[in-house]
């Protein structure tokens, strides 16, 4: 997503990354591996939970998830996976943006 950020910006979209890592750890990591879009810290998992991306009974921790929210604040695409590599491809997300 970092690599295709320009394409997302060309669609007028902003990317918000949400991490459940403690702020101190995230800040340290991001200083050495900066991202071109905001990374938000959800240590209490409140937003993970609000989007159904918190753990289910048989899984630990948080689940990777990706949502596309349109200009009116409506969910237009949502996907919650079990593993990081389950997230949809950038091409799939860009096609959702194309269709808005």
């Amino acid at each position: 997503m970092r690599d295709d950020y320009e394409q997302f910006k060309a669609h007028g979209a902003e990317i918000l990354a949400i991490s459940a890592e403690p702020a101190a750890r995230s800040d340290g990591y991001l200083r050495s591996h900066p991202l071109p879009f905001p990374t938000l810290i959800d240590e209490d998992h409140q937003v993970f939970d609000a989007y159904d991306a918190a753990s289910r009974l048989m899984s630990l921790g948080q689940r990777p998830a990706l949502f596309v929210i349109d200009a009116a604040g409506v969910v237009r695409f949502g996907d919650v996976g079990a593993q990081q590599w389950n997230i949809p491809s950038n091409e799939a997300v860009l096609s959702v943006l194309d269709a808005l």
């Binding site: 997302f8 918000l16 890592e21 702020a23 939970d49 991306a53 949502f67 596309v68 929210i69 969910v75």
Partner: protein, 45 residues
């Protein structure tokens, strides 16, 4: 992979305000008027 039960397609996205790594806070509602891709990370980006 599955659809979110709490934030299904067609529903209003739950608003939030969170601290931004680095400084400040960010609210989802402040992006109203443009699309947003929300990427929930397991671990780091």
């Amino acid at each position: 992979m599955s659809e979110s039960l709490k934030a299904p397609v067609g529903a209003a996205a739950p608003d939030f305000t969170l601290p931004r790594s680095g400084d400040g806070t960010v609210s989802l509602s402040s992006y109203r008027g443009r699309p947003v891709v929300l990427a929930f990370l397991r671990g780091y980006a």
